[in-house]
Symmetry: C2
């Protein structure tokens, strides 16, 4: 395990935010089950003096169910424009119904510092330990955003995870 | 005003996270008052399909008071290792007691897309419109972090602002 230092964050965050709009993989595990979903929203930065990712998951998602029983997650950044089909599958099918690693023909590996699966062949892996989680409260949410993105009132949950390993 | 596109975010975020651990300026304004404070924690990313900053302010801060009456903020990234003394002053003195622009000998300018002041001479300015704000809830906060950073229970408020201009 290589310690992730704050001074490395600039370099790390470049790749994260370049790829984020195209999608990346969020891998989770609870006691018995693994899952991977595609995320297109999220943040990278500094909090409590640590390099962190902030990922967002709707409470209706299978990933949310798994995260309820876990303190870690891994975000995998696919190589630019590769794995497009897999990203599309992992963004539309639910892990409740299918093993998405299998369905999207992704090679499942093991995290090296946290107990969660990884998508092998990604350009970058961010292995994270969850330090904070909180459900959105729409009271002070912009009204247009509320109307457009939350017609079902399934407000996102924020998960702030310390980047404890990155490679 | 130049539209900030998601595809530019990689480049923008590099500088943000490289400098964040060294400090940057958060400029705010309400009807009558301007303020600038130093921030060392925050996030950059994508939310609701938009490029965003997520800045954090403790409720005890003068800046929090100003943000309660405002929908915008501007983050200025100083040139690397310049303005060290000003960052130090703006991180320790309260705007309640002193005009920090004056005290830290910072040249105050005007935002070009939002109604807030800027610190002139910064390398990058992020002008942001607040889309969401929420106070932290310690229920699901890591206990060590809670003990170390919040002995006074002054939990941060998150402000997610769309980057509507950047230069």
């Amino acid at each position: 395990m290589i310690e992730v230092k704050l001074k490395d964050l600039g370099e790390l965050s470049d790749r994260f935010n370049l790829q984020m709009p195209k999608g990346m993989f969020l891998c989770t595990r609870d006691k018995e089950r693994d899952n991977v979903m595609t995320i297109g929203w999220g943040f990278i930065g500094v909090m409590w003096g640590k390099p962190v990712l902030n990922v967002v998951v709707r409470p209706t998602r299978y990933t949310h169910e798994l995260l309820s029983n876990s303190d870690v997650f891994i975000v995998g950044v696919p190589k630019a424009d590769e794995m497009k089909e897999a990203l599309q599958i992992c963004g539309t099918v639910s892990g409740r119904d299918r093993d998405k690693f299998e369905l999207a023909r992704l090679k499942k590996g093991e995290g090296r510092s946290v107990n969660a699966p990884v998508v092998e062949g990604c350009e970058t892996q961010y292995e994270c330990k969850i330090l904070y989680r909180q459900a959105m409260d729409p009271t002070f949410l912009n009204k247009e955003i509320d109307k457009r993105h939350y017609p079902k009132k399934d407000y996102h949950v924020f998960y702030i995870g310390e980047i404890i390993d990155c490679y």
